[in-house]
Amino acid sequence: MTGTRMTGTRMTRTRLTPARLRPADVLRAGSAGLRARPARIVLSALGIAIGIATMISVVGVSASGKAGVIRQLERLGTNMLVASPGESMFTGKQTSLPEGAERMVLRIPGVRHAAATGGTPATVRRTDRVPKGETGGLTVQAATRDLLTTLRGRVRTGTWLNAATGRHPAVVLGSVAARRLGVTAPGEQVFIGDRYFTVIGILDDLPLAPEIERSALVGWDAARRLLGFDGHPTAVYQRSTDAAVASVRALLPRTINPRDPQDVKVTDPSTALRAKAAAAGAFTDLLLGLGAVALLVGGVGVANTMVISVLERRHEIGLRRSLGATRGQIRLQFVTESLLLSGLGGIAGAVLGAAATFGYATFMGLPPTVPLWSLTGGLAATLAIGMLAGLYPAVRAARLSPTVALQAT
């Protein structure tokens, strides 16, 4: 028995203070309502889970995309510069690069590889029956032999141009050009200019030089002899050591065209890729907002479940009050229940979102990346929503008078 006991004077009494619940008991009481109604719990936690999964997978997919671009950049290198003829400052006409520009570039300190391509007036078609105007957006370019090394490109099938094939009607197709022409293997013939060329190789994708992907590449000499190429490069590709990029960039125009350096345009193709990495996050805000809306709807679902739960469980509330629960303990029980409910949804959503990211990234060949901040942020958002959604029903439950709760029908 307890210490409160009347003695003869009836004035003796100890102060009544409600017992404090242990954390484990708070959890037990808070989860009791969930355990009793599993189906409803799964459904209303699902709302939260979908919201969190959306947000985490959106962040994860964009982070994976970014990581993929960065990985690609590392492989391709950021030490390649391209020089091309600009428009003349005086006449506004397209200028040209001097012959042998790539050999001059090789003399710049720090330059490792240099190669040139030159545009020809010829077109490439599948057969001579195809009308001349239907180029399919493809160009025919003369290429020096170092081009593939400079671009760090690879031949998908067949071979690259060499000293012998570079003089004859042989052609190497960029990946896009091969696809548009419907050429899948070396040995086939394509119609260039006014005669058939034999395809000797097809290149892999070249993320740093999309213009080469869309080209039919012919040897320098063959282009001059057979296609009326004037020998002036239209692009000089060069690769230097990483440290020398800035100084090479400054020296390139003067080296290529000492008389009119202002007519030489120098570009860094890796900046385009870097821009792509940055752009990978552009969609994210919109989709993240969508996820937030889903999360909010999930939170409303939890609040709804809790309100109904409080209405249905008035007898339980009355019983607990009769067993000695204070208003605060009833409130705590329902807030705990709501937190558990949304927390379960949040954890399920985080697992789902991470799994979706891994699935997508693996499928797309990207490095799967789920930023830690998105996981912790998602769970924090869940708990905040559980708190908000549970507070109003919990306060209502606590305000319920025990007699009304017990008599409720």
Partner: protein, 225 residues
């Protein structure tokens, strides 16, 4: 020594309904008293006031020595946790919990640790004759067994007062009789019990009967034994 002392207790509900119109009632430790009256007589209100679930509009209420008027809501909760056990007509058991955990939860708000709660719950279930049914859930038990689980929950903490509100109301005659028998046994072991009922037959089996009508005590009679 008095467990319950009511003097001049009046309870009005908003709208002018007078549920209790001046009730004096004393229950001594160790008594088994029936509070009898038809529906609308005010006996439910009396139960709520004696159980400290509600406060009177006027008059003084002392439960286990505590003047209810001077207590805050929190203190009333603590009073119920330590001194009063309730048994309801509809049992109010948690459907998902075993008999043992249902009884153990009766001690939750006393701050008793789980292990001790379960130990005392097992002892209480043994007292009501359900030692073999510890792991059964309410739907696996008969009505009479469910009410005995509810009684075990009410007595697990050795309350100063056990309040039973129509404890046999939802039971057939045989199980009702068994429940009444159990209450008498518990009383014989020292528990103070007040049974609220409209059933004169049940009341007749109790040693003291307080008859309530129109919010007043109209008779307070002890059985001649």
């Amino acid at each position: 020594m008095n467990v319950v002392e009511l003097s001049g207790v009046r309870k009005e509900y908003p709208g002018g309904v007078v549920a209790l119109a001046g009730v004096d009632l004393t229950v001594r430790r160790g008594e088994l008293v029936g509070i009898v009256g038809p529906s609308g007589s005010g006996k439910s209100t009396l139960l709520h006031i004696v159980g400290s679930l509600d406060r009177p509009t006027r008059g003084t209420v002392r439960i286990a020595g505590h003047d209810v008027a001077g207590l805050t809501d929190r203190e009333l909760a603590a009073l119920r946790a330590r001194h009063i056990g309730f048994v309801f007509q509809s049992f109010h058991l948690a459907p998902g919990l075993t008999a043992l955990d249902n009884v153990a939860d009766g001690l939750l708000y006393r701050g008793t640790p789980l292990r001790e709660r379960r130990r005392r719950a097992a002892a209480a279930l043994e007292r009501v004759g359900l030692a073999e049914r510890l792991t059964h859930r309410p739907h696996e038990l008969s009505g009479g067994q469910r009410q005995r689980v509810a009684i075990a929950r009410a007595v697990a903490g050795d309350p100063d007062l056990l309040l039973a509100d129509e404890p046999t109301g939802a039971l057939d005659t045989a199980s009702g009789g068994a429940v009444l028998e159990l209450l008498r046994d518990l009383n014989a072991e020292g528990t103070t019990i007040a049974v609220i009922t409209h059933d004169h037959e049940i009341a007749a089996a109790l040693p003291r009967r307080v008859r309530v009508r129109d919010g007043r005590v109209v008779a307070d009679e002890a059985a001649v034994r």
